[in-house]
């Protein structure tokens, strides 16, 4: 392209085209987050964020790391972090396993795949709130699970207590993210040539041996990528914890903790503390994303030439 001055016409055009997007991103996401980041180190108890309506100037801030230390040392905060990491790890592992089972089945039964895919896609079309409430009522004392276990079969003495437990949130998140995991796994297994399995069987391996010695090693980087992906998604998942986790008195995860603190801003807690939580959550998520990209880029190097991931 001809260059006029230092910047070519192509560059000008490109920057012009992406200007609205960049402005939106900077103004609505980057700038507020920077402000949150700065405020998280503030020792003041004021409500505003720097640059965004705060009465004090940048220089008045008393820099301190107390909020972060409080996150790491206070028992309630530690519980929140551990709950969040724990739930995310459990959901990621379970969905990896379920994804392998269903994804492999779909990849090797192409005729059934569209039907299965349509059903499995439903949770991603319907709003998360409806799915979560569906589960809430499915597991409630008057729902079918308790009806069968408690009233009909009398295997248990009283209705299963579901809400407010770790399991409840796990189940909720499973429902929300199953679609993602299954689809990613199905694509993964479609990329593996069935001829390899046939070859392995012709050499005398059982199905189990073929699966563990041939398929899994080939799929391993993809499995790792899916695990990390689901882990990050579950870390920021909020609706399941809000409805099924029993609220502020039940099992609390990080997004919910932030939300509860926002709601009680005038009463207790400081803005700066909330900002610290927000930064921690964002940091873990972004680190997870970096890890995901690292795995995918290394594992699928050959297939992604020039593709924008």
């Amino acid at each position: 392209m001809r260059k006029s001055g230092l910047i070519s016409r192509e560059t000008w055009l490109a920057w012009l085209l992406v200007a609205p997007f960049t402005l939106m991103l900077l103004g609505l996401l980057v700038a507020p987050f920077l402000s949150i980041f700065i405020k998280s180190f503030s020792g003041l108890a004021t409500f505003g964020l720097p640059f965004l309506g705060s009465p004090e100037a940048l220089g008045d801030m008393q820099p301190t790391a107390t909020h972060y230390i409080s996150i790491l040392t206070e028992p309630h905060n530690q519980a929140v972090i551990l709950n969040t990491l724990g739930i995310s790890a459990v959901v990621a592992t379970l969905l990896m396993l379920i994804g392998v089972g269903t994804g492999y089945y779909m990849a090797r039964h192409r005729s059934l795949a569209p039907t299965i895919s349509a059903i499995v896609t439903y949770p991603s079309l319907a709003p998360a709130v409806t799915i979560i409430f569906g589960i809430l009522w499915f597991m409630s004392p008057t729902g079918p699970v308790n009806h069968i276990l408690f009233q009909q079969l009398e295997w248990i003495d009283e209705p299963l207590e579901f809400t407010g437990t770790f399991t409840a949130i796990v189940v909720g998140d499973l429902a929300l993210f199953a679609t993602l995991a299954v689809r990613m796994m199905a694509s993964l297994f479609e990329m593996i040539d069935p001829a390899l399995e046939d070859a392995s069987a012709s050499l005398g391996a059982t199905e189990r041996e073929t699966f563990f010695n041939v398929l899994l090693p080939l799929a391993a980087p993809g499995l790792a990528a899916v695990w990390v992906f689901i882990f990050i998604r579950t870390m920021v998942a909020y609706v399941a914890a809000l409805v099924l986790g029993g609220g502020a008195k039940g099992v609390v995860v990080l997004p919910l903790e932030i939300f509860t603190r926002i709601q009680s801003l005038g009463i207790s807690g400081t803005m700066a503390q909330i900002c610290a939580f927000a930064v921690v959550l964002a940091a873990i998520t972004l680190a997870g994303r970096a890890l995901y990209l690292f795995i995918v880029r290394r594992a699928f190097r050959d297939r992604l030439q020039g593709e924008i991931l």
């Binding site: 192509e10 560059t11 055009l13 490109a14 085209l17 992406v18 609205p20 997007f21 939106m24 609505l28 996401l29 507020p32 987050f33 402000s35 949150i36 505003g48 964020l49 965004l52 309506g53 396993l97 379920i98 089972g101 269903t102 492999y104 089945y105 299965i116 059903i119 439903y122 949770p123 079309l125 319907a126 709003p127 998360a128 709130v129 409806t130 799915i131 409430f133 569906g134 009522w137 499915f138 008057t142 729902g143 009806h147 069968i148 429902a175 199953a178 299954v182 059982t206 870390m235 920021v236 909020y238 997004p255 932030i258 939300f259 926002i262 959550l281 998520t285 972004l286 924008i308 991931l309």
Partner: protein, 280 residues
């Protein structure tokens, strides 16, 4: 040295005499997942068409009655209207902002291209609650404090939905041959006209996919709407949440079912449109 006879290949062994065949794990998992996905919505559906509170076996309606839908009709329609009032501008804005970005990333070379490709995914990766928190400050106490909550919510939804619009368009543009556009230019069309007449019609299916994804994201959004909303705005997820929290479970179930039907219906229509458009 005496040459040995080659050992025969071992016959395939059946693993574990009492366990079911290994290959049953896969259909079993699939079936379990399908049941897990469809049974809870059936419970909600039954709750909403039941003529009393108790369900047979906890899952089937004792008697069918649409009374709940009749009574809550106005509330449902209003929440649908509110959701649409946000989703439609969100889709439009996402398209107008996202299409140029997709084009620039695929067709042009410029400094910052790699960084931009990463930034396109940033809203997807960023925790929604942190984003909502930032937006809340921006629109409630910050420089944009006077802005209408509708606008704030539309902007919030747009920023998180942009990746859903941009990615399909990028994929489509990568498949379109640049030669067609160049041919139009060589025949005298300006760049915009060349694009609109040669490229845009071809990428319509992917644009529709983007529209469906953005629409689904906006309709389902909960965190951003919750933090930016005022009592007068009642989108479908908010209405459902409020109904359940205030104890009107059956009403909540009715609104939830209506929401599901609406959301799934619109998206299915869009997907069918995508398939029909692809056929020419």
């Amino acid at each position: 040295m005496v040459p040995e006879k080659a050992a025969p290949l071992p016959a395939p062994r059946r693993a574990g005499g009492f366990l079911p065949p290994f290959r049953w794990i896969f259909p079993a998992t699939t079936l379990g997942l399908i049941l897990f996905i469809i049974l809870p919505p059936i419970t909600l559906l039954s709750l909403s068409v039941n003529d009393r509170f108790d369900l047979v076996w906890g899952i089937f309606p004792a008697g069918i009655s649409f009374e709940l839908y009749r009574d809550s009709g106005p509330a449902i329609l209003r929440s649908v209207a509110d959701s649409m009032r946000i989703a439609v501008p969100t889709v439009l804005l996402s398209f107008l902002v996202g299409l140029p970005v997709a084009y620039a990333l695929v067709r042009l070379k410029f400094p910052g291209r790699g960084l931009l490709a990463e930034l396109v995914n940033l809203p997807l990766v960023f925790p929604p609650i942190v984003l909502a928190f930032g937006l809340m400050q921006l629109f409630k106490q910050g420089p944009f404090a006077g802005v209408s909550p509708w606008v704030a919510i539309v902007l919030g939804h747009t920023i998180v939905s942009l990746p859903f619009m941009i990615q399909p368009i990028i994929a489509a543009l990568q498949r379109v041959d640049i030669a067609v556009e160049d041919a139009a230019r060589s025949l005298g069309a300006g760049p915009l006209r060349a694009f609109v007449t040669t490229v845009l019609p071809v990428i319509v299916p992917s644009v529709l996919t983007g529209v469906a994804l953005v629409f689904a994201r906006s309709i389902s959004d909960f965190e951003i709407t919750l933090l930016l909303t005022t009592p007068e705005i009642s989108t479908m997820p908010i209405a459902i949440y409020q109904a359940f929290e205030s104890g009107s479970t059956r009403l909540g179930a009715a609104v939830a079912m209506a929401t599901n039907l609406f959301a799934v219906g619109v998206i299915v229509i869009l997907e069918v449109a995508v398939r029909r458009v692809r056929w020419w």
